[in-house]
């Protein structure tokens, strides 16, 4: 227990060797946001059992056990907060909840975070910690890749930046959707980041895997991580990046002068924002604010 106490004092980073242990979502949020600024959204979202999935135990039992063990309802917490005074939409994953696996609830929280960021025109930050898609929800878990990537494409088209933070581990369908798509990707040192399981990868070749395969530094070397940031430096790093990663201004010279559609910025859209709110009550409604069906950059006419 002693070592764990030391770890907790140090945000789960080994004071001896600097190894980054996994950090619970609640503590991650505490560490990153301005004190007391986090306002959770959709705390009540909970997984269902669409397949009636049973392996050695029924899926609902596994969920209940994970809830009891973690005090979380599922593997992600989302809301809004300020970081160094910058207001952001924030979604943080928790590996402790069923390996941070992404089912419909995680996919929904990431998607709503992207949709809120777009409607409110505030940057989006997602902190990933996940083994991938949640098998127990079958292809409906796989479809969360499409749901989240589609929402991120609309965010991108709206000129609202997205910052992806990858922590140990970020693998499978989570890496292959929102985690890899950051306008800027930052990662904690030596985190496991990859698509296929290393055992699978190794199986495909005779020789050994490359040194440091699927670790942060490997991803950096191959061009998929912008910055490697220790946990201790992460909050300052995000503040520094947020100074540049702000939504493109809505008022644009072209529209001020001649209102041509050459301008690509959608207007702030209260209807859209209300729709985003309403959508939380009626999940099968799209939260599209009406400017999003165009390709990038979007035409604003329907805003």
């Amino acid at each position: 227990m002693l070592f764990n106490k030391q770890l907790d004092k140090n945000d789960r980073v080994c004071p001896n060797c600097g190894h980054h242990f996994r950090l619970a979502a609640t503590l991650r949020i505490e560490q990153l946001v301005d004190h007391g600024s986090f306002v959770e959204r959709d705390a009540g979202l909970q997984s269902v059992d669409p397949l009636g999935f049973v392996d050695q135990r029924p899926y609902p039992e596994r969920v209940s056990q994970a809830q009891a063990a973690t005090g979380l309802r599922d593997a992600a917490i989302r809301g809004t907060a300020t970081i160094g005074g910058h207001r952001v939409a924030l979604c943080v994953m928790d590996f402790g909840f069923m390996g941070g696996s992404m089912g419909a609830v995680v996919g929904e929280k990431v998607t709503r975070s992207a949709e809120d960021a777009r409607a409110e025109r505030i940057p989006l930050i997602v902190v990933s910690a996940s083994g991938g898609a949640r098998m127990q929800e079958g292809t409906l878990a796989l479809m969360q890749l499409a749901k989240t990537c589609a929402a991120l494409e609309r965010l991108k088209a709206a000129g609202v930046p997205y910052l992806s933070v990858m922590t140990d581990p970020t693998t499978g369908g989570v890496f292959a959707s929102y985690a890899v798509l950051g306008d800027v990707n930052v990662a904690e040192p030596n985190a496991l980041i990859g698509f296929a399981g290393a055992r699978v990868s190794a199986g495909t070749i005779a020789q050994e895997l490359p040194e440091g395969f699927q670790r942060t530094e490997f991803l950096f070397q191959h061009g998929f991580v912008d910055r490697i940031v220790t946990r201790a430096a992460l909050r300052a790093e995000l503040i520094g990046l947020l100074a540049y990663l702000q939504p493109r201004p809505l008022a644009d010279a072209t529209t001020e002068t001649n209102g041509t559609e050459g301008d690509s910025r959608p207007r702030l859209d209260p209807i859209g924002f209300l729709a985003a709110v309403a959508e939380r009550l009626v999940p099968d409604l799209s939260t599209d604010d009406g400017t999003g069906s165009g390709p990038e950059p979007e035409g604003p006419a329907r805003g």
Partner: protein, 317 residues
Amino acid sequence: MADAKAEAWRHVQLARNLGRPRALELLADLADEIVELHGDRLYGDDQAIVAGFARIDGHRVAFVGQQKGADTEENIRRNFGMPHPEGYRKAMRVMELAERVGLPLVTFVDVPGAHPGPESEERGIADAIARSVGLMSRLRTPIVSVITGEGGSGGALAIAVGDVVIALENAVYSVISPEGCASILWRTSDEAPTAALAMKMSAQDQLALGVVDVVVPEPGDGAHADRSGTAKRLRPAIVEALDRLSTLPVDDLVEARYRRYRALGPYTEVALPAAVPPPPRGLGDRLRDLLDPTRWSVPMPLPGASRRDEPPAHEDA
């Protein structure tokens, strides 16, 4: 139950039948002509994915499909139909061209999974899949996707985001291979049939889940036994979808596609305060660290991953 399991496994085996027609074989029967395009304009030309133009019943379309080999030589050349990042990047290039010149897109999905090798990881298979999925979600032209055989996880979805998703009767679609699922949840791949049943992989199950919109029956013993018969049944389903989609305003088309995927994956909302604080650190935390991640999710992180993250073991090191 045993019967159901056997039936589920039979579907998997049919979907993997080596005689099953691939994208090019189907197009040879479906299309009056095809013009294949090559290269991703970045790194290479991945023959595990074919792409280009084709004319189907007078409809000029762009196509993208996975392509396994008919023999060993071709399978080696095509990496057994497992695409590398450059394959998906070639697909994206042709998708963007289709949008630009106003051609609808038809995709043919049949893949055990994206290539899992180190080179695939080095060149960013996850990035390629995510961007292809995102591109298809906003592509301003009609998209008809056909699952013809194995719909293997992200490697399949990367070219399967469509306005209409068609599946052949004996096709399967899953988030992980049944062997992989079984080896994780049942600790032995022998339970693959059990996993196949549990994941509801079959075309009919996927139709019931809303992941697939149309199931096209296969002739006789299945597609492998009658390629042209299969194409004959598939053609009207594709053409009908193309005709219908072509009447929609592009904005409405893309909006409907967004809603289609936006709505997939049920959940519930319970009236409750924000998540309660976690239990005191230490034991509960240790317990969580001890949970084997590979039990929950796919694909498996490094075997050592969870153990590496257990403080005592770490201290011993």
